[in-house]
Amino acid sequence: MDQHFPRLLAALSLALACVASPAWAEDAPVIDGGKLLLTNGVSTIEGTSGGGVATWATIAGRETDRGIGLSGHVTLIELPDYGWQSHGVAVGIANRIELSYARQNFDTRDVGTALGLGQGYTLNQDVFGAKVRLLGDTVYGDPLLPQISIGVEHKRNRDTPVARAVGAAHGKGTDVTLSATKLFLSHSVLVNATARLTKANQAGLLGFGTAGNDDHSLQFEGSVAYQLSRRAVIGAEYRTKPDNLAIAREDDWLDLFAAYALTDNLTLTAAYVDLGSIATFDKQRGGFVSAQLAF
C-alpha cells in the first residue's frame, strides 16, 4: 500500500482543523458542511463521487454553493482470485466543481504466477478526475430536471509493460462522463444515468485500447437507490464496459450496495459486486467495503 496516504490524511485533518475553527463565527465557514446527508454520494472506485462503481452527477464534499468540501476514502474489494484496494481524496468547490484523485492497487495473487508476473503482482493505477455540474440539482428545483454534470477521468496505469503485454495500445487514457442524477422525493428513489466515453480495458488496469481498436466507445452506467432514512440508502448499479482485449473476455459490472452515514462525516458502504471475468478468471463475485470521510 502507498506510504503517503496516512500522511496525506494527517495533513488533510490539520488543514481542516485550521479552516473549520470558528474564527469568523457569523458568516458560514469556508468548509461549510451544509450539504444534505448522502447527497454528496459515496466515493467510487475511480475516486469520483457516485454510487461506488458508477460515477454520478453529484459533487464530492459536504459544501454548498459558497463553500469548499473535502473527502477522503478507502475501498477494499475481495474477489475469488483478486484483491482490490483503492484510496483517494476529492475536493468540492461551491457544489459546482469536483477534483479527485484515486490510487488503485489490484493484487493478482496466484493469478500473477499463472500469468508469469509473479505471485501477488500488483497492478497500480492513478486516476485524476475533474467534474463540473452544468445544471440542475439532485434534490431541489424542477422535480423532473436532474443534476447534470460532465467529467473527465485521466487514468495513468503504472504497469504499462504489463498492459502492453496483454495487448493494450496505451498505458494512459482519458474517460469522459456525462451524468444525470435525481432524487425523486415523492418515491424516495434516486436514479442515475451516466454515459462514458472510454478506451479502458478493465477500467484501465489492463491499459487502454488495442492495436486493432483504438477508439473510445460509448458505455453506460445506471444506478437506482432507495432512501430508507436520512442516513441509510440501498441500491443497485450496472456498468457496461468495452471488451477489446483478444486474450481475455471482459464483462459488464454490477453491484448491490447499502450505504450508511454513521455520523455526518463518516459514511460506510458495503456491496456485493459481480465483476465477471477478469484476465481469463471468470465469476469474480465478492464483497466491497468502503469508508468515506467528508467535510
Binding site: 457569523e26 454553493d65 457544489n95 431541489y140 422535480p143 415523492s186 418515491h187 424516495s188
Partner: protein
C-alpha cells in the same frame, strides 16, 4: 469592541436623545391586539400563494396526525430554526407569530387537511432575505427533525418534501 462601547457610554448625555425612527421616517409597527401579529404590506390572498398543489385524498393528512399534528410540526420547525445557530439570524428580525400561523396553513393546505393558505407567495415572503442553499438545507433538517418527533415515516416525510423542494427557486437568493 468593548473599548468602543465604553467610549460611547462615557460620552456626556447633554443633548436629548435622538429618535432615529422618527428622523428616518420609520413607521412604528404595532402588534395586532387579537392575533399578536405585525402588519404586512397588502397582498392578494390566494391558495396558489402556497406554491404547490395539495395532495389528493386524506392519506397524507392522516399520516401527519390531522391539523393538530401539522400545527405541532409547523411550530416545532420554527422553534428549532429560531434556536439553530446556522439560521437563527435570518429568523430573529421577523414575525414568528405570523410565521407559525402561515407555515401551519401552508402545510395544512398542501397536506389536504382542510385549510386555506392566507399568506404571501414564496418569492414575496423571502425577498431580500439572503437565503442560501446552506440555510435551505438547515431548514429542511429542522423540518425533518420535527416530523421525526411526530413519528412520521421517512417515505411519507419525503412525499411531503417533494411538494416543498421545487419552491427552492423562489426562496434561495441567486
Amino acid at each position: 469592541m468593548f473599548l468602543i462601547a465604553a467610549a460611547l457610554l462615557l460620552q456626556p448625555a447633554a443633548e436629548p436623545p435622538i429618535d432615529w425612527d422618527k428622523e428616518f421616517g420609520v413607521e412604528e409597527k404595532a402588534r395586532d391586539p387579537v392575533t399578536g401579529e405585525l402588519p404586512v404590506d397588502p397582498y392578494v390572498q390566494d391558495n396558489r400563494n402556497a406554491g404547490a398543489s395539495p395532495f389528493s385524498g386524506t392519506a397524507m393528512a392522516e399520516a401527519f396526525g390531522g391539523q393538530d399534528g401539522i400545527r405541532r410540526i409547523a411550530n416545532r420547525t420554527v422553534e428549532l430554526s429560531e434556536a439553530d445557530p446556522r439560521i437563527a439570524a435570518i429568523f430573529v428580525s421577523h414575525d414568528m407569530v405570523r410565521l407559525k400561523r402561515t407555515l401551519f396553513e401552508q402545510f395544512c393546505y398542501i397536506l389536504n387537511a382542510g385549510c386555506d393558505y392566507s399568506g404571501r407567495d414564496m418569492a414575496t415572503a423571502h425577498k431580500d432575505m439572503g437565503v442560501r442553499m446552506r440555510d435551505m438545507n438547515a431548514l429542511v433538517e429542522n423540518l425533518q427533525a420535527a416530523m421525526r418527533e411526530e413519528n412520521i415515516g421517512f417515505a411519507t416525510q419525503n412525499r411531503f418534501l417533494s411538494k416543498l423542494a421545487p419552491m427552492s427557486h423562489d426562496v434561495i437568493e441567486r
